[in-house]
């Protein structure tokens, strides 16, 4: 169970014009603008839900995920994940969550994937018997058998993403944050990843929060979508609310329309 109430967060960014003149000027003084990355964000996610968290680049998606995973402390507001405040009880909290950053790897580039997994087992102190069982299941369901002895640098993008997901599940988290898990994957890999995420959610009841730009991911996986723009939650509801309004338009077009409508 995740609950966010009025989470706010702002950053300072420096501004500078183009050209040599302003480059020299910026040596002596700089102007700063305050940007509200999160502006009173509130939502609730129940156990076993699967939600799609969407919005244009820089809308505040990853800031929200960072707050929920305990990396970022908000300026104000309340966030409770499984009864804990993430940034206050970090160590206990992170045992319950798994995080996949789509563009960043947690695997060791030059050593076999299996060795990376073993190390993650030690970091989480997963018991050996449990680990064996979890790993066997992941290997068979994500089809990792061959890959376990291959160094990560030799994997294709799709193979690597499957391994990344497995790596985030070795400690059996109750909540899984997926940040663009299908980015850059070819069609079969995308389908395999989606299929696995769906079964993880349906069969094992893992809560999944999925951020993505790929609307087909959203369509295929989630029942509920949260749209964020300029740090505010603009829409929170079942996916049908999106599709029903647009008639026979493609979902990508619908989302583009929506971004325009909200001026984000």
């Amino acid at each position: 169970m995740i609950r966010l109430v009025d989470i706010c967060k702002s950053y300072r960014v420096s501004r500078r014009g183009a050209g040599l003149g302003s480059a020299v000027k910026s040596l002596f003084g700089r102007r700063y603008d305050l940007v509200r990355a999160l502006d009173c964000v509130s939502f609730e996610v129940g156990d076993g839900e699967m939600i799609g968290y969407i919005g244009p680049n820089g809308a505040g998606k990853s800031s929200t995920v960072k707050v929920m995973s305990g990396i970022l402390t908000p300026d104000s507001g309340e966030c409770i994940v499984n009864g804990r405040v993430p940034w206050k009880e970090r160590a206990a909290h992170v045992r319950d969550i798994g995080v996949v950053f789509g563009q960043r790897s947690q695997l060791w580039w030059d050593v076999p994937v299996g060795d990376s997994f073993d190390l993650i087992r030690d970091i989480y102190s997963v018991k050996r018997a449990d680990y064996r069982q979890i790993l066997d299941r992941l290997i068979s369901r994500l089809d990792l058998g061959e890959l376990m002895r291959t160094p990560a640098r030799q994997l294709s993008l799709g193979q690597r993403m499957r391994c990344e997901i497995a790596a985030s599940l070795l400690h059996r988290p109750k909540i899984l944050f997926l940040d663009e898990p299908t980015i850059g994957l070819d069609a079969p890999s995308k389908l395999a990843v989606r299929e696995f995420i769906r079964s993880l959610n349906r069969l094992e009841g893992v809560t999944v929060i999925l951020t993505t730009h790929d609307m087909q991911d959203i369509e295929a996986l989630t029942d509920r979508v949260i749209l964020i723009g300029k740090g505010r939650i603009l829409l929170d509801g079942p996916i049908e609310r999106l599709t029903a309004a647009g008639g026979d338009k493609k979902i990508d077009e619908l989302v583009a329309d929506m971004y325009r409508a909200f001026e984000i």
Binding site: R16, G19, L20, A23, V24, S26, L27, R30
Partner: protein, 267 residues
């Protein structure tokens, strides 16, 4: 020529935006300058007769080196270019309607100039007014100053020319990092970056000053401080220009052949 100036300009502006880095760099260079002067003062007091130049000349040498570090830094290599070479993406660079050697030369030169431009003036000003043994003295005379300006220009161009050899070698080696560390070390040591060349044993110094490494930073700094003057200075500058021609010509041939090899192998 205009397009190379454009490369130079954009790099130069880009280099100027790192304000905090410039302040931090200046603080570091002052600290190093003081440190080196302290060390040499102790050696000087231990055996004054063995000192190969006047102490004042050495302080000038040390401050010049710190002020112009950006121009002559031996360890600077453009990350982008190196990554491009090791990853094979250099192929894209070859599609541009520009000579690669000149383009890379201009980029490297610009980065060096922008780093030095930010840092040298404050260091010159402050070091010029430091008390006693820490002071940076004015050049040995108007002639020395003019000669110094010519010599510094040649020195920087030779420094960039030498680094182009290292870029070209990066095409061949299995370990660009290891190769670079070795190359940086040799250049640094032989150009007087560890200890100024006059402090080498006399026989070694007589050979070293003829090499292209001495033609980078050692020659201009020694001219400024007056440790190298008159006919010797003229000869040293002439030698610089000889090396400049040889090194740029050789570097261009070498880089072109590395690139050709790449084309034949298909990257």
């Amino acid at each position: 020529m205009k397009k190379y100036l454009a490369f130079f300009r954009i790099r130069f502006i880009n280099g100027l935006q790192y304000r905090a880095a410039a302040y931090a760099g200046m603080a570091t260079q002052f600290a190093w300058g003081f440190m080196e002067i302290l060390v040499y003062t102790v050696f000087h007091d231990t055996a004054p007769a063995a000192f190969p130049m006047e102490m004042g000349q050495l302080t000038s040498y040390i401050w010049l080196r710190q002020a112009l570090l950006g121009l002559f830094m031996s360890w600077y290599y453009d990350r982008e270019l190196l990554d491009m070479i090791t990853s094979g993406n250099v192929a894209y660079e070859m599609c541009r309607p520009a000579d690669i050697y000149t383009m890379w030369f201009a980029k490297n030169l610009a980065t060096r100039c922008s780093r030095a431009a930010l840092r040298c003036v404050p260091i010159f000003l402050v070091a010029g007014f430091l008390p006693g043994r820490f002071r940076l003295y004015p050049p040995a005379g108007a002639g020395a100053l003019a000669m110094f300006c010519v010599s510094v220009t040649a020195g920087v161009l030779i420094t960039v020319g030498l680094s182009m050899f290292v870029y070209a070698t990066a095409f061949y080696t299995v370990s660009p990092l290891g190769m670079r560390i070795v190359a940086v070390n040799i250049i640094e040591f032989m150009s007087g970056g560890i200890i100024p060349l006059p402090f080498f044993p006399d026989g070694v110094f007589r050979v070293m000053r003829l090499l292209p490494f001495a033609a980078t930073e050692s020659t201009p700094f020694l001219i400024y401080s007056g440790a190298l003057r008159g006919g010797d200075a003229g000869a040293a500058v002439a030698l610089q220009f000889m090396w400049l021609v040889l090194i740029t010509a050789g570097g261009k041939l070498y880089l072109d052949s590395s690139l050709r090899r790449l084309v034949i192998q298909g990257g």
